[in-house]
């Protein structure tokens, strides 16, 4: 469906079937555009052709990425309480909430005058920012899980100390002094190799 619009602006993210006639100053623009929405329930991106939009009676539109989210919505579940949603993870500090890379994704309703350089740079920037954001997010998760890891290692060492008689008979340990309990070191990999020694002998 082509409509002539009297202004000069070129709205980005045109659909595949648009024909853009670069005439004097009037651009034929298809007023429907493809926008990447966020699923209301799980916050993942809804690409064109996927999902369902639900229009409530107060004209609020809910986008869903798949029927799983749609069905959860119909069950009146609160996404902030459903563990696998982004809303829950952000609320409970599982995922990164504040970062400067989020600023780039804010929705802007102002149409930009088409500039080829701008478009090219934007595409490059999108890739870069995406990488930076995902790296920071995974670092956030790694840091969060660090304390648990250290705790588990401590417990493993404790268990080894207490249960060394299961690994090697105490008589054997007493007789042969070379078969001593491995020295506890903070280095993970080292502790692992030393723990293996009594087993092999």
């Amino acid at each position: 469906m082509l409509k002539s619009v009297g202004h000069n602006f070129y709205t980005p993210f045109l659909s595949l079937f648009d024909q853009l006639v670069l005439g004097n100053c009037v651009l034929l623009v298809n007023l429907r555009r493809m926008r990447l929405e966020k699923c209301w329930f799980c916050s993942s991106t809804v690409y064109p052709g996927h999902g369902i939009q639900f229009v409530r009676n107060d004209a609020k539109i809910f986008h869903f990425c798949r029927s799983k989210c749609h069905k959860n919505f119909k069950m009146k579940r609160n996404p902030r309480k459903v563990k696998w949603t982004k809303a829950y993870r952000r609320l409970h500090g599982k995922d990164m909430t504040q970062d400067s890379t989020f600023e780039f994704e804010r929705k802007r309703n102002r149409p930009e005058r088409y500039d080829r350089n701008l478009a090219e740079n934007t595409l490059k920037a999108i890739k870069k920012i995406d990488k930076i954001r995902s790296d920071r997010a995974s670092d956030h998760i790694k840091n969060r899980l660090k304390t648990g890891k250290v705790q588990r290692q401590k417990e493993a060492r404790k268990q080894l100390e207490l249960g060394i008689h299961l690994v090697k008979a105490p008589l054997a340990l007493a007789q042969d002094s070379s078969l001593c309990l491995p020295k506890i070191k903070d280095n993970v990999s080292q502790a692992q190799t030393e723990e293996n020694q009594p087993m092999e002998e």
């Binding site: 469906m1 659909s15 429907r32 493809m34 064109p48 052709g49 996927h50 999902g51 369902i52 939009q53 639900f54 229009v55 409530r56 009676n57 004209a59 539109i61």
Partner: protein
């Protein structure tokens, strides 16, 4: 999927409140009406002391259905209720205000007056 006996809300200020579909306009044995289809309806509930009254037969165009509307670009839209706008024989709405978001399909079916009155077009 509106068929005879379906109750619809009225989405304009034409003083009717609820309609019941009697007939789907189109073919002789047409079963269901979707968004943008014209139906013949009887007024089941109306605002009292107005020109439109209960059990009056009128034509209406359906503007929202609970059944999903599928578009060629893959977009699927579902509304919260079944609603219609009361129109006359030419397709002009009887009311002066439309409530709720309207699907773009109505413009292509030449209900331009309705689309222009709508607060939001999806």
């Amino acid at each position: 999927m509106i068929q005879p006996q379906t109750h619809l809300n009225v989405a304009d200020n034409s003083r009717a409140r609820e309609l019941m579909c009697i007939r789907v306009i189109g073919a002789s044995n047409r079963r269901y009406a979707h968004i943008g289809d014209v139906i013949v309806a009887v007024i089941k509930e109306a605002v009292p002391n107005t020109p439109l009254e209960r059990s009056e037969v009128i034509t209406a165009v359906i503007i929202s259905t609970r059944k999903e509307l599928k578009r060629d670009n893959g977009m699927i839209i579902r509304y919260d209720d079944n609603a219609a706008v009361v129109i006359d024989q030419e397709g002009n709405p009887k009311g002066t205000q439309i409530f709720g978001a309207i699907a773009r399909e109505l413009r292509q079916l030449n209900f331009t007056k309705i689309v222009s009155l709508a607060p939001e077009v999806l």
